[in-house]
């Protein structure tokens, strides 16, 4: 009897040890054994697109920091919804734990994202808001705030007497609408400060024509805000031609080598630049937090920065204006 009881105790002890060991390794593998997998789907994976390359760099930084496996895909053209839908489809089939996507505005993409949600893949939308319901976690540039910053810059440059025209691209562009709204908010305290918004449709020539006509029709015009690169280049050309670059303040959005040159020669007073590195970084970081089951903000806004000729070569701004991407 005595021996039996003792053996029983010992057996229980051994069992406990075994359970402990199994439990320990289960925990261990759950925490370290399995690596997190995140797929990043860009609007464009073109190496010439500094913006998306920088987003990639930020995403990679976040993945490395967390020791996660990151795959990056994207079509060559920013407007190629077909191939983005296809890439998304393939990505869902590989079943990553999370997908970070910069969706092109298209029905097919929304459908694919619904499929991803149904498959239990965590979704983070970056750059452009998605029409997906329920709205997924998003990390985006605060375009309204960026517009407001541009508007404030105009106000400062015109010494509180702004009279500005906006050169946008398309009427239905969400990003441009947001920027426009921000600009108008900034100049609303000033009477008779708004000439109008014109749509240059991503064409330098059209923007050139628009600004030329505006200058002719509204001699008091003292500021132009170009909401995209083509508009800024066209507007700068018109201003140079009329030799009014000193009098008319031109503000652009997003950096490119051409805009930088305009900034250097003074025809562009300032450009409002986004922080694509931060967007990639925070997008992947949000995805990793979703995988861990942590709470994340529904929407994370990334602020923009206004860069002028004087501060464009400061260490911080150099990094933003001249993305150093490993090509």
């Amino acid at each position: 009897m005595r021996i039996q009881r003792f053996t029983l105790v010992l057996a229980l002890l051994l069992l406990a040890a075994a359970v402990y060991a199994v439990f320990y390794f289960k925990l261990y593998q759950a925490s370290a054994g399995q690596e997190k997998t995140v797929t990043l789907l860009l609007k464009s994976k073109n190496v010439r697109s500094d913006f998306w390359q920088t987003v990639s760099a930020g995403a990679e930084a976040a993945a490395k920091e967390a020791g996660a496996v990151l795959e990056i895909h994207g079509p060559l053209q920013e407007t190629d919804a077909d191939s983005q839908a296809e890439l998304l489809d393939e990505a869902i089939d590989r079943k990553p734990q999370a997908i970070v996507v910069a969706p092109i505005d298209d029905e097919r993409i929304v459908r694919e994202l619904q499929r991803a949600q149904a498959a239990g893949i965590k979704l983070v939308v970056i750059d452009t808001p998605s029409k997906l319901k329920p709205a997924p976690v998003s990390v985006a540039n605060n375009h309204l705030e960026a517009g407001r910053q541009a508007g404030m810059a105009v106000v400062r440059a015109t010494r509180d007497k702004p009279y500005l025209a906006i050169v946008s691209d398309f009427k239905d562009s969400g990003v441009s609408a947001e920027r426009e709204k921000g600009i108008l908010e900034a100049i609303s305290p000033y009477p008779a400060s708004y000439v109008g918004t014109y749509y240059g449709e991503d064409s330098e020539d059209k923007a050139y024509e628009i600004v030329k006509q505006a200058l002719a029709r509204k001699p008091g015009l003292n500021a132009v805000v170009a909401l995209n690169e083509a508009a800024a280049l066209g507007a700068a050309k018109a201003l140079k031609e009329k030799e009014v670059t000193d009098r008319v303040t031109l503000i652009g959005f997003d950096s490119s080598i051409y805009q930088i040159k305009l900034l250097e020669d003074g025809s562009l007073k300032a450009i409002v630049v986004q922080k694509p590195f931060n967007m990639g970084y925070l997008g992947v970081k949000a995805a990793l937090q979703l995988i861990d089951g942590k709470k994340t903000a529904k929407t994370t806004y990334i602020d923009s920065l206004i860069v002028t000729r004087d501060n464009m070569y400061s260490p911080e701004n150099q990094k933003l204006l001249f993305p150093f991407n490993e090509k």
């Binding site: 051994l14 040890a17 490395k64 070569y313």
Partner: protein, 595 residues
Amino acid sequence: MFPARRPFRPIFPLKSIQSSISVAFSCLILVTIAVTSLISYRLSVDAVEKNSQNYIEEVIKQVNTNIQSYIDNMENISLLAMTNKDVKYYISNNSFISEEERRPYEKRISDLFQSILYTRKDIASIMVFGYNGRFVSDRRITSLNPNAKIEEQPWYRNAKNEGGKSVISAPHVQNIIQNEYRWVVSLSRELKNTDGITADGIFLVDLNLSVINDLARQINLGKKGYVFIVDDSGNIVYHPQQQLIYSNLRTEHIAEVTAAGSGDSFTVDDDEGRRFYSVQDTNFGWKIVGVAYAGDLIGYKSTLRNSILITVCGVAVSLLLSVFLSHRLSRPIRHLQKTMRLVEKGNFDVKTEVGQMNEIGQLGRTFNMMVGQIKNLMQEIIDTQENKRKGELQLLQAQINPHFLYNTLDSIVWMAEQKQHEEVVLMTSALAKLFRAGITKDQEIVPIRVEIEHITNYLLIQKMRYTDKLNYKLEFADAILPYRTLKILLQPFVENAIYHGIRNKPDVGTVTIRGKETEDAIVFEVEDDGVGMTEERLARIWETPDAHDLRRGGIGISNVDERIRLFFGPGYGVRILSEIAEGTCVTITIPKVQT
């Protein structure tokens, strides 16, 4: 001083040796394994940390050497330019070079720069700016960026301020050439005139930042580890997450790095995880820092996992082993225990197996011997008891010896016929007393007085029967009266003396019975002056009485002797001396037994 020691009472009383041994073994094993694994864990963690720190240090040294070699190379190029006569002449503030003469100089210098650039892929550009407004680069046709003010560039200003010493810039975008925006690290130096005092211009070498970037990026410091560079005033020169730091999304331990000397390393432990920083100084002011995370040091975790698995298996096996060992060790004890239980029940014929001659084997052997001895003793007791009973039976027979009774009754009848009434009364009362003395008392030993009375009555009867043949004398010392003796001790000897000694003697014989005290015993003597005995007869007397004797109611001398020995011990008994025609003397020795 010490409190009274209470008897040791364990919390879990263990009732068998096996469980005690197994528990002791298990505790020993568990404690040993726990302690050793703890120590080895600590040691291995220390070793891994130390190794990885050394490794990081080595790697960073290597990075340092590489970057240093790039910078040294730029330095050498600048020295080359400085000592080049064409360059000196070209930028010197002299007016004797005409516009036409300038072209060959420009071409020669440009060729020189180009050939250097051709051998060095890491160099982005080489340029010289004379204070006299002249400018040569490694390209034949160079158009400078009209919007870039060279004099305001940090590399230009710093070189001018340093006056001849070379200056290394932080990584920056070089915008002085039109349409070129390259990330570079610049080395600039003010060039002196041949007199060594007057400054003539600034020399610039640009190193592609991608060289340093690639170098830092290729360093493998685990999955998450990285390399970063700060300058002597704590500004970040290179960091893989520079933009995050500028946006305040991330912080870096710059203050600690700036405070650390070359070759120093320190450990940081915050919510990002434990990591090691290793700092190396370059000789141009930069600090190169390697960061490795403790969590992803190679082989760290898998080794730990294996060692824990092995430890658990080891514990399990050793626990089983301890059960097995304790079972084996306690088996002979349990065997002995089983045998003992049989003995307890009265079986003395068992024998335990004696295995190895260890303590338990010896115990078993001693146990076997003990059981044997007990068995012998028990047999002896049984034998003794049997003999005693036999003796008592014979005693009883002796008392009521039928022949003696017939003879006595015959004598009484004869005396009655003779009308000797007084004698009849005397004899009858003596006979009655004789029997009462023997039968009534149950005890084995009686006061010597009773025995004397008994033998007196007996002799009275015999005297009346053998009036003219028997005389007797009783000589008992008064000192022996308080002691006790076995009952009917003397009668058999007196009987023998009468029947064998005196009856066969032609004339009157005398029986003398003495009782006296010696130092430590009481001695009775029954002496007759009868015919005596031959040696053979004397010898035969010691043998057990034969059937004839027994029938006659005689009691063997040997039986009496044995009875005395059994009762009082081997030191006492009967001694007989006999001489033919002289007589026999029987000496009976018994101890002094107080009433």
